[in-house]
Symmetry: C2
Subunit: 341 residues, 2 copies
Amino acid sequence: MIIDCHGHFTSGPKALPEWRVKQLAAVNDPANAPKKSDLKISDDDIRSSIESGQLKLQQERGADLTIFSPIAGQMAHHLGNQQTSFVWSEVCNDLIYRVCQLYPDNFAGVCQLPQSPGESPEKCIPELRRCVEQLGFVGCNLSPDPSGGYWKDPPLTDRSFYPIYEELVRLDVPAMIHVSSSCNPCFQGTGAHYINGDTTAFMQFLTADIFKDFPTVRFIIPHGGGAVPYHWGRYRGLALDMKRPTVESMMKNIFFDTCVYHYPGVEFLTRIVPIENILFGSEMIGAVRGKDPNTGEYFDDTKKYVDACQNLSTDDRQKIFEANARRVYPRLDAQIKRRGK
Amino acid sequence: MIIDCHGHFTSGPKALPEWRVKQLAAVNDPANAPKKSDLKISDDDIRSSIESGQLKLQQERGADLTIFSPIAGQMAHHLGNQQTSFVWSEVCNDLIYRVCQLYPDNFAGVCQLPQSPGESPEKCIPELRRCVEQLGFVGCNLSPDPSGGYWKDPPLTDRSFYPIYEELVRLDVPAMIHVSSSCNPCFQGTGAHYINGDTTAFMQFLTADIFKDFPTVRFIIPHGGGAVPYHWGRYRGLALDMKRPTVESMMKNIFFDTCVYHYPGVEFLTRIVPIENILFGSEMIGAVRGKDPNTGEYFDDTKKYVDACQNLSTDDRQKIFEANARRVYPRLDAQIKRRGK
């Protein structure tokens, strides 16, 4: 079984962004805000977008199941206010739920959280609980920068995040650390802000006691871990210089996906990071949509890169494609087992 | 000849930070500001710190010459105001000049610029000229974030930077893109802010016409290019998706150093990035000061990693260690030639 741990519903029906425009237009005019029920998306709309997009590519590329969440760039926690984020998160998460209900073998839900700049992360707990306990979601996305590229909120290691981590532990679900869009002209989104978010989060974890305080909390750092594997020696050395727990000891809690869009990068990842800490991911349809003219293959068809790694045994590949995801997302494992797989 | 393109005077005499404390204490009290002449550092003070620090390690590790600049983390453009930065840059650059005068075979100067948040980069030109034309410096450091971790100033591709680039072209000197310290609690300095600065700058260059407007301008992106080589496919794909000039075409203007603190990372760099675009660098004494317990070697002794790369020919190594630096820093090349080397 091949599990892609990183997919966003980027191919979703147009009614969703149209509803969002109305929501944002009414931020300061709540009487005219659209209701959730004003969003009209039929099952056929969902089937049409999924079957021509994510599901089509999933099947063409030989994956079986995608851990699926709302569009990262559209979480945009910095737009509107806390109430805007509450409603927008519910709308987006409900749509993911419908995808998972229509295609339970192909998609498992991960929710966005209603983070909002300057607001306590604790306020996200009810939506996290709803998604996991009522909608059957298997994890959440957690942004290290709800300010949208200005990094004005506290780091992930701040005590204000601790109630979230307590809840992650209680629910036994992991969080993928994933920024949203950048409104800072210094940071292009998918090439700078995304990768910086990954690198930044790792360094936050390295410099704080979060894994001492939450020994079983689990984070997926996407996009191959940002710059971390490439600079593995730097991080190992910094941890030693700072008398912090070793980078190796952080591997109880941190996992990287394979969203690295060239073969040498994926091969490098598998040689540097313990195999147990690598989860297959593609983020398709996402940041890079074209084909590499040198190979004729899609840049984000990362399964081909994992398949091609000569250094991986069959057992290694099974861990990267399936076993690690089932271990890191135990609620997904339980769902799959209930289906007899 | 082995040229280390990336060294900061981190082992400098204590009188310098003591003077800086007084300068910052008097930001709003100019009458009590210390004068430049109040900074008392003798030639023996310099010899003592250099010979027990940078020069000692340079010689132990088998390099010949370090391209040397003030401490990156202490540039701190965000402290004080424009006038603070003017004076601080002069003080720091003058000290580098003295090092280069005392050890002309071992050190070549690179200046910090008196950038200041919200101020026009053009104001840095007089100090850049002074350092290159009067002090014999061969390049400068240019911060993509004078706000110290809040990224409030325009990107490097903003027109306000164009006068600087005109001057770099006129003087025929390159700039190393290097952030200073971070006062943003989200960003640890050497592990997050530094690497993010590199990745961010590359993506700024990818998305703008700067190399069309300045076909001969040259930038060194340090720390192995941040996350860029590891995500080479992502950047190649983004450039193609965005209908931008290819990443390959950017290699006329962008160079990476070898400040990647483990052998596999340096080996990876040399397999991904054209050899002509890699300059040997160590940033010693800098971000990581300890030894790797696995090897017993200093993490930042990057010469050992380059030496160990089986994929490099003798000619490749000569380019990385010497020829590329002499090409990218023509004023350095001229100085070395004048010394008959």
